[in-house]
């Protein structure tokens, strides 16, 4: 096993991408993700790749479109306002069925917001953002090691599905340092050939065209159905989540990313205080892990969703839980991070209210 080293989330994402074979990065500076382009600027040329600081996020994502279209593993990274600017390109990349990695180290919004951590981009990442019926595979790592592992998978799956993949982190994940083990670099020569890539016909095949334009409505519909079939496959095969202490859980915490780390701390303290608290942590934001929530909703007393947003993931939790159990919500916003203590207090409050209110007890069991 390789040695552990201490890495910051942002640089770990960059190094993991290089090891996963990323050879083209275009980006534009924005706090709190600057360590990613800075790392790429130092390292990508050393492995024969290219880093470009684009004139804007709009240009950066379109450079990635061009690079991805040549079959080169390509990525960009940014933070919330910059990701808004990239939505046009993300929609085109999805429409043209190109593989690419987009990293969003989320900061507070709306508008210029602030440079502190937030989770206000869930809707944007999972339910569009750009125009048209497309989906991204969206990973929400909760540790630096998990971010590294997911970056590797992101490139594989982006190519497998020919679809952009997003790593949805936040300022804490990007800035914090944790001990990690890096994977061995992939051997680029062993990656499958991309028959669709625009590399020049070489005079031996018909021209390849990278395109998202379908003027004929029937063909455009066919293209859309094909995309939807791909997304359906993703919902079947790519759902990832983690369940903690669910065997006897009565109250289920749910949170992702930084909120999940806080929630896990709160869960441990709650357990030590006798509360039967479990947790479901989505690792894919899209496709969302509806099934574990549905299953849990048939036997647990309540859910507590913790987010650094006004409540975005909770809409998916509601879709999964329906009315089978009450769903409580605790949030901080604008760059504030919930504390384990505050989450613990919420858990106690829920516990008390469920004991007081008989109707709030087990439903459907």
């Amino acid at each position: 096993m390789a040695e552990q080293i201490l890495m910051k989330g942002n640089e770990a994402v960059a190094e993991a991408a290089i090891r996963a074979g990323c050879r083209f990065f275009a980006g534009y500076p924005i706090t709190p993700q600057n360590e990613i382009p800075e790392y790429m600027a130092r390292k990508l040329f050393e492995v024969g790749g290219t880093f470009i600081q684009a004139e804007s996020e709009v240009s950066a994502i379109n450079m990635v479109y061009g690079g991805a279209g040549t079959g080169t593993r390509s990525m960009t990274s940014s933070s919330s306002p910059g990701i808004s600017l990239k939505q046009e390109g993300i929609s085109y990349i999805a429409g043209a069925e190109l593989p690419a990695l987009v990293v969003n180290m989320v900061r507070a919004g709306p508008g210029l917001g602030g440079i502190q951590p937030a989770q206000g981009d869930w809707f944007q990442a999972t339910k569009g953002g750009g125009h048209g019926d497309y989906r991204l595979l969206v990973f929400v790592p909760a540790s630096v090691q998990e971010a590294i592992d997911l970056v590797g998978q992101a490139f594989e799956l982006a190519e497998h599905y020919r679809n952009p993949v997003m790593i949805l982190g936040d300022a804490v994940l990007g800035q914090m340092m944790e001990p990690v083990v890096l994977p061995e670099p992939v051997d680029l020569a062993k990656l499958p050939q991309k028959s669709w890539a625009t590399t020049g016909t070489g005079g031996t095949r018909k021209p390849n065209v990278v395109n998202s334009l379908y003027l004929d409505a029937e063909l455009c519909e066919k293209h859309n159905f094909k995309l939807q079939e791909k997304y359906r496959q993703m919902t079947e095969r790519e759902v990832r989540f983690e369940e903690l202490n669910m065997d006897d859980a009565e109250i289920v915490l749910t949170a992702y990313g930084t909120s999940a780390r806080v929630a896990i701390s709160a869960m441990k303290r709650a357990r030590s205080e006798g509360l039967k608290v479990g947790m479901i942590r989505p690792i894919t934001a899209w496709p969302f892990p509806y099934e574990p929530f549905r299953k849990a909703s048939e036997r647990v007393r309540a859910f507590l969703d913790v987010e650094m947003s006004a409540g975005q993931m909770i809409e998916d939790v509601r879709l999964a839980v329906q009315d089978r159990a009450p769903i409580f919500f605790y949030n901080r916003m604008g760059g504030m991070v919930p504390t384990p203590k505050a989450v613990l207090e919420e858990l106690h409050k829920i516990d008390h209210s469920l004991k007081r209110d008989k109707l709030g007890g087990r439903l459907g069991v």
């Binding site: 004139e55 240009s59 061009g66 690079g67 046009e88 085109y92 020049g200 334009l213």
Partner: protein, 266 residues
């Protein structure tokens, strides 16, 4: 016996262009394809289509193509060229695409001296969307969004991209040519070839601005449109080479920028 001395270039497919009768896009497509043929680079060329009337350009060339979002073709071409530096990469963009929504992309691709070739078709109007004002629309020119003619106090004055970009150090070759008669088309051909030559020689960014007509949206017959171009566009958009890197064929243009000095920090 006789020998064929003029035919459709190999780099053009046999698909019939969708362009209106007399639209000079067809001439410019052919010039680009002839240049690709003459450099022998068809198998290693990647074109980038933009948004505008030429959005379907990928159907007409026998080369790999990527279709770019409106204005972003130079960014897409940058991505392609940086990943495949030994391929020949060109964009084909109109005036709305290049001189309006894509001004940042074209300026910065030129600034970086991206080793790509840009074919910039300037017909002073939006063709695709139905004859709206372009940044290159002439003063007084009637369009659907400049009814009664473009007025400077409302809509500013025409933008001269070739002159603007020739102030940068990145471009190796910038020329403006026209399609209003066969002699000019022959000159345009030479400019397009020179632009590809600049790329083949790895000299950096090259752009040929081609003055072009839009008979349909100008409301003229194709031949009237060519005359209108000659009489009205040429005074605003003078023809010529604005920048020619030494080493390219032909005399160097006078206005070559002075290279900035490298400084040392840290």
């Amino acid at each position: 016996m006789s020998v064929k001395v003029f035919e459709r270039p190999k780099a053009l497919s046999s698909v019939i262009f969708h362009y209106c009768p007399g639209c000079t896009h067809g001439i410019i497509h052919r010039l680009v394809a002839e240049a690709i043929d003459e450099f022998g680079v068809q198998g290693k060329t990647i074109g980038v289509a933009s948004v505008g009337c030429s959005v379907l350009a990928y159907n007409y060339f026998n080369v790999d193509f990527q279709q770019a979002a409106h204005g972003r073709a130079p960014a897409v071409a940058t991505g392609i060229k940086r990943c495949l530096p030994d391929r020949t990469v060109f964009t084909y963009q109109g005036d709305g695409d290049l001189a309006s929504i894509g001004t940042a992309e074209i300026v910065h691709a030129a600034m970086r001296g991206e080793n790509i070739t840009v074919i910039f078709v300037n017909n002073a109007i939006y063709g695709m969307t139905g004859g709206q004002m372009a940044p290159t629309t002439l003063l007084g020119q009637n369009t659907t969004t400049s009814p009664g003619g473009r007025k400077p106090e409302r809509a500013g004055r025409p933008i001269r991209m070739s002159e603007m970009l020739s102030q940068l150090e990145g471009p190796a070759y910038i020329a403006r040519v026209s399609t209003h008669n066969a002699a000019q088309v022959a000159r345009a051909k030479q400019a397009v070839k020179k632009a590809f030559q600049a790329q083949v020689d790895k000299k950096g960014f090259s752009m040929v601005e081609v003055l072009s007509t839009c008979p349909t949206n100008w409301g003229m017959t194709p031949n009237e449109a060519l005359k209108w171009l000659e009489e009205n566009m040429l005074p605003v958009y003078p023809l010529g080479e604005f920048k020619t890197e030494p080493g390219l064929p032909g005399p160097s243009a006078a206005k070559t920028t002075v290279p900035t000095r490298e400084v040392k920090t840290d």
